[in-house]
Symmetry: C2
């Protein structure tokens, strides 16, 4: 089967930011087999006219808690919501069915917005992995390991067992790449963090955790004369397996250390700024050479599961904090959202439109009201486009979204299925009505 | 003609933020004639089922340069673009046809995103007013008065004449309310500013200008021992006619003075943060009681002409600068975007869903991927919704958008018409290719 996408404005995201204005690509066996300008090959089995839209590598979401759809719009403006109602409500009312059906809905939402790969951490992640695989979303799922009672795991050892099983089950699979996901720097003991690191090394996979995010976290380590990063380093976790999430409060020494150790970062500008937590020092992270990408965070933290919002929120927050309009020009931001994310997840054959690379592709239509005119396609993507401008999405060579609609399932059905398992969750949430 | 909108989740935006979950309203003679819960009247001439969507007062855009569509994505990340290429390119290549057709396209884009009223300042604003009137967008257009050669006016006196003509032409009209629009505090002489103020008072209308926006502006007044606001006050402009735009760099004394004088503010978070200019001290503005609303700014400054983006960008920038997640909860932000904007423009019969008020209404569908679940409808609007979630828009009782599409014109046709008058503009822009 040879698929042809023609009449596209291709943004390759290669080192030279090569663009092909009237471009075409062919896809075979899940990968890009050829690309060019002008006259396209005539031997394709299926031809899709991109109508002059922007064809770019699929967006890579480096941090999500996809299943958390049922929490969305709950207490958005509530301080310390994690401890005030998210943890208690999870402990009381979260179920395996919510994890699975929440992840299916979220995967649909991500695909519809052009995200082709997502890293994820939550509970019952074996079912989340199933959901992603069924939806055709490439994913890096990790069972949350936390030293308190949690859905599916009364003790962290149970979550570690789940992590191992996940790794064994999907070993060698090209869609699902399980990772290790200790919750954070203060919610997991040093011993369990090291057990996580042992697994990450044994299975050659990423270890992701929340770090340098919370004021109380920063205070805790400051009182010990440390930073969360120096602490992780002292445990042997600050290395090439690390995907540290948020990293809002990094010192210059932390950045130098992470760069030196080959650690990776996921920055979540939407979640962080909505929470009033601050703006990560990404100008310095970028200068250090650390690989980093964007994360939507969960749907109750970042709300929308698309990288258009993250790109724009990243642009405006960085430019504002640094008082520099020219900082992070649009094409650099599109690079972070695509190739940068792939690099942060250690993917060496995704994130660019390049022969031999995975056919994880997103087509953005220029028909939407704000997509005219387009002198600079990167500007249009960062400052003008939204999830609804995505018209076609391909993962591994298969078309998941066409004409802005899922090809294999109906979003409404996914919503109804999820809604059908939500009543006791909704009921349990009522006791927090005064704070949410 | 009596129109009924039924099965709506009505957000009235009254003083108590009253919601009607299963609500209906009737519209007669351009105004809301009745509203209620449950069983709706059976004598309507036309019935629209809102399918449980959020029905709210139309968004009010308090600052735009609508016609500037042809500039969009041009030099977004270029510092000092106003003087480096916007002014020169306007002087060289701007035409009356671009003003008219740019405004028509922009009006379509605004209506599609649920904006029902817009304040505007640009050149050939008589044609902009025509465009808005034809599209059914309620508007406050003002001819830009500036002390340099400008499109349509070689000297500011010419722009003042255009302003007077605009005021005379639309006197008493309920759709078009012309205003006076001197460009800014440093681009207009004190004498011309006072001539503008004379007109604003004579015609009982608003005077709008850019103020406290630019670093060089702030430096200029600081060297004179003044602020832009104290300067305006010394000229007699800081009063109930003033709609000061941007106001990023307001001192506590400026805020107290503006509150005392009854001045109004338009804040443009998207434009300001993208430019790295800073975040306006709106917490203090709000506490002072000054009436204020959101502005998209022009399509080359704020890029998207919708208030969803402004609401979210406002939320995250304010919460981040003040390090306070609970600051400006979502419902307060929706209030600013609707009723706040109406108040900033001095409209006393718009901005709420209330009997006798203008039937300027926006219906936001809950079908979109990020609009589920909805515990808090204001949260869904601020953190989740986008322009593409708007399904129906009414201005003055007439339906302008239905099922997310314009009812009277086709966006594609408007784009083609505008494109047909753009070639010499595009050509002139080429000489700035190295900076944009």
């Amino acid at each position: 089967m040879k698929r042809l996408l023609k009449n596209a404005w291709i943004l390759t995201m290669d080192d030279q930011y090569t663009e092909i204005r009237n471009g075409w690509i062919t896809v075979e066996n899940g990968r890009i087999s050829a690309l060019g300008e002008g006259l396209e090959p005539s031997d394709a089995d299926e031809v899709t006219d991109c109508c002059g839209g922007l064809l770019l590598p699929g967006f890579v979401n480096t941090h999500c808690h996809a299943s958390m759809i049922p929490f969305r719009t709950m207490g958005d403006d509530c301080p310390d919501r994690l401890r005030r109602f998210l943890f208690p409500l999870e402990q009381e009312a979260w179920t395996e069915a919510l994890s699975y059906l929440g992840a299916k809905y979220a995967a649909a939402e991500m695909l519809l917005s052009g995200i082709t790969t997502a890293a994820d951490m939550y509970y019952f992640e074996d079912r989340v992995a199933d959901a992603f695989a069924e939806m055709g979303l490439r994913a890096f799922p990790g069972e949350t390991v936390i030293c308190q009672r949690a859905p599916g795991s009364d003790v962290p050892e149970e979550a570690l067992r789940r992590s191992r099983e996940l790794l064994e089950k999907w070993s060698g699979n090209e869609w699902i790449h399980p990772i290790i996901a200790p919750h954070g720097t203060t919610t997991v003991t040093p011993e369990i963090l090291q057990a996580c690191q042992y697994l990450a090394e044994k299975y050659s996979t990423l270890l992701t955790l929340h770090a340098c995010e919370m004021d109380y976290e920063m205070r805790y380590f400051r009182e010990k004369g440390m930073t969360p990063i120096s602490y992780l380093d002292s445990l042997g976790l600050c290395g090439p397996h690390l995907l540290a999430v948020h990293c809002i409060h990094l010192s210059p020494e932390d950045i130098a250390r992470m760069a030196d150790r080959g650690a990776h970062i996921s920055t979540c500008p939407g979640s962080n700024t909505k929470a009033g937590k601050g703006v990560a020092p990404i100008r310095d992270v970028d200068a250090s050479g650390i690989a980093f990408g964007f994360g939507t965070d969960g749907p109750s933290s970042g709300n929308t599961l698309n990288l258009f919002d993250q790109m724009r929120l990243f642009a405006v927050s960085q430019k504002t904090v640094c008082r520099d309009r020219s900082l992070f020009p649009a094409r650099k931001i599109v690079r972070i959202a695509t190739r940068g994310g792939a690099e942060a997840l250690g993917m060496t054959d995704a994130g660019q439109i390049r022969i031999g690379f995975r056919a994880d592709l997103t087509l953005v239509s220029l028909d939407g009201p704000s997509m005219f005119p387009v002198y600079n396609p990167y500007s249009a993507l960062v400052y003008g486009a939204g999830a609804s401008d995505v018209s076609l999405v391909m993962t591994g060579g298969e078309i998941r979204v066409r004409n802005g609609q899922l090809t294999a399932v109906c979003l409404k059905d996914l919503r109804e299925e999820l809604e059908s398992v939500m009543p006791s969750f909704r009921n349990a949430a009522k006791k927090y009505a005064d704070i949410i």
